[in-house]
Symmetry: C2
Subunit: 305 residues, 2 copies
């Protein structure tokens, strides 16, 4: 099982079509699943991708348009039928939580697990912090209040070099401090530098989800150095005016943000139905600006490595 991966449950815009489900992703992190948006059909895709409902811990809803939300009541009801226990925390703007509470009160009044309703505010903040990960909101430019989400691993521990710690007779209880980067001080006061006893930690990875948003050059700065950027790319160049009008981006604009952010990779999604499931044009236009770009597709899993 991957430590940190993005699973695409839906990458179309506006409505389900024959080609795409509306927006939904499952971020898998160390066995835990976190949904990012939850358009209709998300639960069916989770089944098809064999992502276990029991491992779902958090849902992050970017904004209150139905194509990012309407799969949620059904999913939360299914969790109850699946004998989910523990908690699921739903992060969304308050009006969405309010209608979700009312919906669940009628359709699933006594679930076997706890739903925690956590309001998102239209600001930039860390909304989840665990021992190894943070999730931050980033303000987007859409027709209604809308945030993106940045998942950042915390810095990881260095790896012990087994041969060298044995050679220098480092006692076991020192391993934790070595992994933190501390030097080893011998009983005689002499110092063995940390770099002689450990090798570099694995890099801490980061993932940014930016959907839905008009192009905004300021976004790049806030996601500097992100390893994987998912950016909406509703339209191709020919519709850049429409993109601006409706608070969406072209594929090229998504690539400009990826380039200016120094992102590792870019994944495009939230495709208009006008492309009938063939978004090659969007891919080409983005790659002119940022070559390391791929298209999202239902069923796709991308690992952060």
């Amino acid at each position: 099982m991957s430590q940190f991966s993005i699973n695409i449950l839906g990458c179309g815009s506006a409505t389900p079509t024959a080609f795409h489900n509306p927006s939904a992703q499952a971020v898998e992190y160390r066995g835990q699943l976190m949904l990012v948006d939850c358009g209709e059909g998300a639960q069916a895709m989770m089944r098809r991708m064999r992502l276990k409902f029991s491992r779902l811990s958090h849902v992050f809803i970017s904004h209150l348009h139905g194509d990012h939300f309407f799969g949620l009541p059904g999913l939360l009801s299914t969790l109850d039928l699946q004998d989910k226990n523990g908690t699921v925390t739903v992060h969304a703007f308050e009006a969405g939580l309010d209608v979700l509470r009312k919906t669940m009160a009628i359709f699933c009044p006594d679930p076997g697990y706890e739903i925690i309703y956590e309001p998102i505010r239209n600001t930039e903040a860390t909304i989840l912090e665990t021992d190894s990960l943070t999730v931050e909101t980033i303000r987007l430019s859409h027709r209604v209040p809308c945030v993106g989400f940045i998942f950042r691993e915390k810095p990881k521990l260095r790896h012990i070099n087994g041969e060298m710690v044995r050679f220098h007779n480092v006692p076991n209880y020192k391993m934790a401090s070595l992994r933190q980067g501390e030097d080893f001080i011998r009983p005689d006061g002499s110092v063995i530098p940390n770099k002689c006893l450990t090798t570099d930690a694995d890099p801490a990875m980061s993932y940014a989800y930016l959907s839905d948003t008009a192009y905004n050059p300021a976004l790049a700065e806030k996601i500097q150095g992100v390893d994987l950027l998912f950016h909406e790319a509703t339209y191709d160049d020919a519709f850049d005016k429409l993109a601006g009008k409706y608070g969406h981006s072209t594929a090229r604009q998504a690539a400009m943000t990826a380039r200016d952010a120094g992102a590792g990779r870019l994944m495009l999604g939230h495709f208009s139905k006008r492309y009938n499931g063939n978004e090659t044009l969007l891919l080409e236009q983005a790659r002119e600006v940022f070559p390391n770009t791929i298209l999202a597709r239902e069923g796709l899993t991308t690992q952060l490595i």
Copy 2:
């Protein structure tokens, strides 16, 4: 295009699975579409079956369980994006209408068509009457208030026998009364009996949708002579106690109701996921009681002829 047909959008129970969508059907009548229940995925199946959103006039929700309702907010939002005009009337228990109103107020506050919210009461009544069709509710035995729906064509007009009306010199303005069954009285007072001038009308067809319900022998009487009966058949014989406990039926019980109602045909649906999409056992057990039985299946269209 069929005058009167049933299109299966979903025939599984409880949750979407790899094999079935939750409950939803589109009744097509003279070019108009009426949805019966609207589980998640209904709109995607409508697209796949090429049933035009613009022709949707009514939605009938049998009860307030999510697998019969959660596709509705998305469908109603999609209608707006599709530039639907006119009205859509949603018939459902009041608590469902209430949460639907609140959902639409947030997610689709200004649709380009009118949604009419029409409360269903837990009684038996004619809830829709047009020139040619009525829709009645029938009380079912489920864990929450639940009704079935009976679609009945009104008696149709007799067919004019062209040769005979010419032979008897019947003036054109008499055709309407002939089709109603009246005799033709000549200016000299002599009578040409209607049966000499017309042939029998096509039979008025009827369709009953009974889902979800425990077996209740009294239901058969209320749907006497129905041409097509859709009856839930969540379980096979081995689970008859479970069926009773959860307010559901076995396939055999559905067949008993069809037999006792003198139904023309029986269609089984609302299948438990325990059958993994293979409901042959249910079909066999039902056919022991009522041979003219078929299984519902997503994508199936059945004409009432």
